[in-house]
Symmetry: C2
Subunit: 489 residues, 2 copies
């Protein structure tokens, strides 16, 4: 049936179509049903909502996501038809009972996720099954291929395209912009795509976004890479592994990150981005996402599965006992990055880790001889070449490194006693930062002044909490004071 | 912050508030955030959507659910404030790792579900954990209490309030209206509350709704019971165990029905409805929800846990190898019920099962001597007293037993060969009925003409499929022809 579009600028975060009650009755469509909207040969699946006023029968309102996908304007005609129930619905229950998936089944599920044919609750069931029952290597390979095949793929004419990835979990661990700048300055092609925060306060994409655009199209990304050897883009807007972004959205709700999906998602994204060399950082420790033992296990899994895809991979295990750098939150972390690159009072731990990882990549792709990567990386950083490269990349992504705005509200938390810092709990620090508004409010977050082993005096400021809302600030400060993420011995 | 209500009649199926982009920015509120809306002392938690047109900053649009709960009209002022992240979010992950819940934790989760503080995806994670890890008796008791305590409770002045329940899974198994009519005619107080379909094509509430109102308030329900000894109400609108309705909504997405939640939900609803005597029907068999063994296990669980709550319970295990009655779908099933009550060509299986269950209740509450329940039940049915009682109940619920409308479209499926019916697959029949539009389209569904053991001729009509939409009809017929739910030997 044909409908006329009425402008209805709702940013629902997902495709929703508002249908007049009387039309819905005629078509036997109900709230929550999914329908297919099409114009010319473009199609999108949307969830139905009903309206009783605002427009006449025969007219529909659509959310921004639909306007964008179908390229609509007010008055346009679109076709609406019922979609059959997605096949995946029957498949999702299977994994909850720990039955393995076939290649075809995984492809069906991932395709339905990408086509918006599954609700968030259905995706949550799928994730629960994977979390609880795990997957065989074969299933992970099939999941990787399903994620990789149901999305865009980038091809490069260069042979030695490099990439890095950290499995995350360490607040403030913003090494990427530093590593990318050093490597690109050395002539490495490193078109970095990053994700947004999953369980942390900020992902690299969230951080870089506080000073530049990260939602590049593939052609924009290629232009940036042609100009600068590198980019700092958000993977989501490139359409690489789009299933992954939806999975992460749903995982984020309860901070879940099941291993098979974690592995498949990283491999699929690297493959889709056209990378040939990948350096993977797995922080471990009591306070990190994984234990030393689990990190070793993951390292072996990655090495084994990467071979299947002909991907050269190096994996380093790093200590993840405390935050890296001082800022935790999108803008606060980019401020730390700039300090390292500009050689202005840089957080030493962030600098050390970035140099180490950059040196490995330089050696992997042959830009430095075995054992000489570190020297070369240091040279590039100290000479200012890395900072210059960073400026170029940010500029090419329509950004600039100017004044970075502080949050509207802030609160200094002071130490109740003097002593030595004995522990900093990553999860509690991240949680405080999230309560303050991270990752959506860029300038919010937690700034810590000391690391493990350093001394602090009584009444000295131990952390500053930033927020854009008084209520969020209060919540974060109360949490910080009650749970004391920084232990003094 | 105060906002002015603009009429915005959207039936979103859940509380959604549409906030102007500029207000959202000021308050640092994002799409998908949850906020608390309050007026006078009424409160509701709603999900945020953003709009860029239609109203001015300072105005908000609200979905029907909010209008109803806060009793709003256009121009009213409401207060909107950020809600702290629900506590449950941290608790949900616990069960996914099979850690048992404490009484307090279960109460927190159920309270958050009732207060709409959890998204459907978060609820799906909770259900997955319960499905996968199960619960101890103690956890089930605590879950029952949490569901029971976070909702309305009905008190009766009568001592011997009776009730029945079937765990479902058998298409067409619409015994309730018949049992209730027989028992009420015998003087039993039987204020029956029913649910809507979970995994089947119709629940008793869906069926009765095709001829009467089922969304009664507690005072309306009490009035109906005072007048007729009984009622046939939908549990959801009474506010009894409201958590249960939300859980079922999310379970329905992938046809999941985890045992601990099934037990807790039934017990909580019976307790909240003020029942003292409960007859529970557990259909078993290859084709039913549970095996004979699982049915025995459930029987013991129910007997044990009911004791804890001082509930007198009888449990019968019934064979669930095929549909009961001929109609499968809300209206089609109520037509079968009326045939039994009116003694006009009644489906014999439906009649037998209803009489058996009614007789047990009559004996349980002392309206018939041990061993004489069946005679009494038959007498009431044959005399027309049960039909008269049914008419009274339907009338008291603003309904009438007139002409029941058939669906717009229908299709006769004929047998390709002659022979004897050897099996009827409940799940496939239900699925075909759901594809045809059940349970939302009342008149849709499947009508079968034969049961196991009966003969059918070549080209004889084996089933008629009814639907309100051509596409749904086609889907259901194609499915029926491809999967052949009725086997001929």
């Amino acid at each position: 049936m044909k409908f006329k579009i009425r402008s209805f600028k709702i940013g629902a975060g997902k495709p929703i179509v508002f249908i007049h009650k009387s039309d819905a009755k005629n078509l036997s469509i109900h709230v929550g049903n999914r329908v297919e909207l099409s114009k010319n040969r473009k199609k999108i699946i949307a969830v139905v909502d009903l309206v009783g006023s605002y427009f006449e029968p025969g007219e529909v309102g659509v959310s921004r996501e639909i306007i964008k996908k179908l390229n609509l304007k007010s008055g346009d005609e679109i076709e609406i038809s019922l979609t059959p129930s997605p096949q995946s619905t029957g498949l999702i229950q299977k994994k909850l009972s720990c039955t393995p998936y076939t290649k075809k089944e995984l492809n069906t599920i991932i395709k339905d996720i990408v086509n918006n044919a599954l609700t968030e609750a259905e995706i949550a069931y799928f994730i629960s099954g994977v979390y609880h029952c795990g997957m065989s290597d074969n299933e992970i390979i099939n999941l990787t291929e399903a994620i990789y095949n149901n999305g865009e793929k980038i091809k490069w004419s260069h042979k030695n395209v490099a990439d890095k990835h950290s499995i995350g979990g360490i607040p403030g661990n913003r090494t990427t912009p530093i590593i990318v700048s050093i490597c690109a300055a050395a002539g490495v092609i490193i078109p970095k795509t990053s994700s947004r925060a999953i369980t942390s306060a900020a992902g690299t994409a969230d951080s870089v976004e506080s000073i530049a655009r990260v939602d590049l199209s593939i052609s924009e990304m290629k232009r940036v890479v042609r100009k600068t050897n590198a980019c700092l883009a958000w993977g989501g807007s490139l359409g690489l592994a789009p299933a992954d972004d939806k999975l992460i959205q749903v995982e984020r709700l309860i901070n879940l990150d099941p291993e098979p999906q974690l592995i498949a998602s990283i491999l699929a994204k690297k493959l889709a981005a056209g990378s040939k060399f990948v350096l993977l950082d797995i922080p471990y420790g009591k306070n990190a996402k994984v234990s030393r033992k689990k990190a070793e296990h993951l390292k072996n899994k990655f090495k084994k599965l990467a071979k299947h895809f002909n991907l050269k991979i190096e994996v380093i295990l790093t200590k993840g006992d405390e935050p890296i750098g001082n800022g935790i939150g999108p803008s606060l972390e980019i401020i730390d990055v700039i300090k390292v690159l500009k050689r202005e009072n840089p957080p030493k731990d962030l600098e050390r880790k970035s140099l180490k990882m950059a040196s490995i990549i330089l050696e992997m792709v042959g830009k430095a001889k075995k054992g000489e990567g570190m020297k070369k990386a240091q040279e590039i950083l100290n000479s200012g070449k890395a900072y210059k490269k960073f400026e170029e990349i940010i500029l090419a992504q329509s950004g600039e490194i100017g004044y970075i705005r502080k949050a509207k509200y802030s609160h200094n938390v002071t130490s109740l006693r003097s002593g030595k810092i004995t522990a900093i709990d990553n999860k509690l620090v991240s949680h405080a930062a999230r309560l303050s508004g991270c990752p959506t409010d860029k300038a919010s977050g937690v700034y810590i002044y000391k690391h493990i082993g350093e001394r602090i005096g009584k009444s000295e400021v131990i952390a500053t909490i930033y927020s854009e809302s008084k209520q969020k600030l209060r919540e974060a400060v109360e949490f910080f004071i009650e749970f004391k993420p920084i232990k003094i011995g």
